[in-house]
Symmetry: C2
Subunit: 408 residues, 2 copies
């Protein structure tokens, strides 16, 4: 049986007709190799922004159903153009929208979840030797209304198609070579992983490594889809994202990330009584304010301190909530510190290795960086540090775990 | 039961977001009157041209299926924006693509014919008090591939929706006030009809009156849909296109048209033997050359003359065919005259009135215009005349039938 590959190209890769022709030529090499190829594409470069701008000219409150109707045209344009480009280079190709291959989703417009995909038409096209081009980011609900999947939607479509087809690999083409131990622009010693686990990828993605959206990684993990994150500029292999069992020896730490868009809120002298924290975080979530790291000190003298981080952009909308909480407490001022960074080390291997946290703390101490907050999970350790020291801390932690030796 | 109205707005009427808002306000008055309103829209102004240009950058031979996939996005953008604009002015509205209301067509991509429309979702939306916005020009074939309807496609969609809903009227909004007795730019005395028959509209459309595409008129005739051709710039009523029975007294002549884009071909000394004409016209149709007026003189001395008109733009591709025919005939030169015009008078009433043709000939004779060819049908008389005299002939014929008195 022929090998089946799913490939996903984002908006930058299909940004203009010249780039679309380049993508067609890349796909052609796979087709010429006798592979079944299903390609998921996003809207061309700035198309989505242009469509949003049109809607903006009409209303500030577009019905979400109509917004999905509008935005889904972007991918429909790019799939038809890519199918044309493939036919032009002698590769038979056929494009499909979400409704044509029944990408069934829930009815949550603008942020829908895929429930199933019908493979009949894809299989028929493969049987005819055709490359299949699929519109990413879009689906239909049970009543055939067009839905869109929200951020990272095309990645999710690609993984869902790979799962439906039982594909050998789901290639995600990006503008980076693969998944690095940390940001190579900040730490030149950063190395690219040949392999990484879904769990690690999830932590790295949510911390701003930003290559793959976590929804697509979760889906790949659930269906055992092998993701291949690779560059659209050359044909060197990138990073495989696989299950833990497929990796011979897990690294204690596989990546270090830093996030500088957060602010730290400290609420001193919180009475040690149930409900205060619940009330606070409920009020914040009502305003769609996402809280990242949360630390509560052990109580002493009947009071304790709650610290947490929120995005800097949310500070202004959080202030009235914090003021109203303050009145219920000691009345002491709530501190907001915007000059912080969150430094995190991630690794599946730290589950079975002791001493990872203390190694990280030592590394920071050695370069004189003060740790303001600490939060740990099974495969992640996060430290809040002063923002001015962020890159220095990043390098120190990268060094201590010898990540420059990855892949060698 | 509420009155049901179908309205169609073309690409110019929804050319930008300001115009879309204007259209929304017009629709609102109908909705506020308690009517069920289904609105068919075309792509915004230049959108289709821009999409064609993108395809051109990729290939000169796009697969028609993929071209339909591409072009159908244009209407999807305008329906979603119009639905947003209606919601913005407080009118609940929902948009539907061709697949969502099952506009089933044959599989003839780029020129598909509508076979049926499902009214379920439209009825549901009406029951919820919503205005329904429908993408014109597009449908799906039996395998759910997206098709487009070709020229005048949105008019056809509008009439098909009106037929499916049993609508009271199908309003076609245009940049003219209605259907005139002739082109008012050429004959200032031209008057607008309050009513006209389908048959007359068909002859006037195909002769270049150009308001409605003949496919939509034929469909309206077949399903008894009343079409209302009216201006999108004001709210004065325009022209109703109805069946002959609905018009109390038919006019002998209801319109006069002139077409100047034709050339006359004259083949002298054709042997009076079967098959010559058939061979000629078959060869022309093989090259997609449309022949309009055909006249064959009665034979004398065993030969006759065949004259016909073709579009000027087709003259070059017709020449080799004419040369090859010439060799089978007397060898006498075939004449091509590009300086002609076709002047036609159209009227259902001429079926029951004698003397219409002779009146037309007299009118032309009176101003000294030489008639080069004559062709008549049940409701149309066409004369080929020198192009330099076209507008003068138009006015003379308009005068003789007293068309300036129409509507008064």
């Amino acid at each position: 049986m022929s090998q089946t590959i799913v490939q996903k190209f984002g908006g930058t890769s299909v940004g203009d007709t010249t780039k679309i022709k380049n993508v067609a030529n890349r796909i052609k090499t796979y087709h010429d190799d006798g592979k079944n190829v299903a390609v998921v594409v996003s809207a061309m470069g700035k198309t989505t922004d242009e469509l949003v701008d049109l809607a903006d000219q009409i209303t500030q409150n577009p019905p979400k159903r109509e917004m999905d109707m509008l935005l889904s045209t972007g991918e429909q344009v790019s799939i038809s153009l890519l199918a044309m480009a493939l036919n032009e280079v002698g590769v038979p190709a056929i494009s499909f929208t979400g409704f044509q291959i029944k990408v069934k989703t829930d009815g949550n417009h603008s942020n829908a979840k895929i429930e199933s995909i019908e493979r009949r038409r894809i299989d028929e096209a493969f049987a005819e030797g055709k490359v299949v081009i699929i519109a990413g980011f879009q689906g239909i609900d049970t009543n055939e209304n067009i839905t869109t999947l929200g951020r990272g939607g095309s990645d999710t479509t690609a993984v869902a198609v790979a799962a439906a087809l039982g594909a050998d690999e789901c290639e995600i083409y990006t503008d980076v070579n693969g998944v690095y131990t940390t940001d190579p622009r900040k730490v030149p010693e950063a190395k690219m992983h040949k392999q990484i686990t879904y769990e690690e990828m999830l932590e790295l993605a949510s911390l701003g490594a930003g290559v793959l959206h976590s929804r697509s990684v979760e889906m790949a993990m659930n269906f055992g889809v092998t993701i291949h994150v690779r560059s659209s500029f050359h044909s060197e292999p990138g990073t495989l994202v696989v299950s833990e069992e497929k990796i011979m020896e897990n690294m204690r730490v596989s990546g270090v990330t830093v996030k500088s868009d957060q602010a730290r809120v400290t609420i001193p002298d919180v009475k040690d009584q149930p409900g205060i924290a619940a009330e606070l975080f409920h009020a914040l979530s009502e305003k769609d304010i996402i809280v990242d790291v949360i630390v509560q000190s052990s109580p002493h003298d009947g009071v304790n301190t709650i610290s947490f981080t929120i995005a800097k952009k949310d500070v202004n909308s959080a202030k009235p909530i914090l003021e109203s909480i303050k009145d219920k407490l000691s009345g002491r001022d709530i501190e907001i510190d915007e000059d912080i960074a969150i430094l995190s080390a991630v690794g599946v291997g730290m589950k079975s290795h002791v001493g990872v946290a203390s190694q990280m703390f030592q590394a920071l101490a050695k370069v004189g960086i003060n740790i303001l907050m600490i939060s740990t999970s099974e495969i992640k350790i996060s430290c809040v540090i002063p923002q001015t020291r962020a890159n220095e801390g990043l390098k120190a932690v990268h060094d201590i775990f010898e990540l420059e030796k990855v892949g060698s």
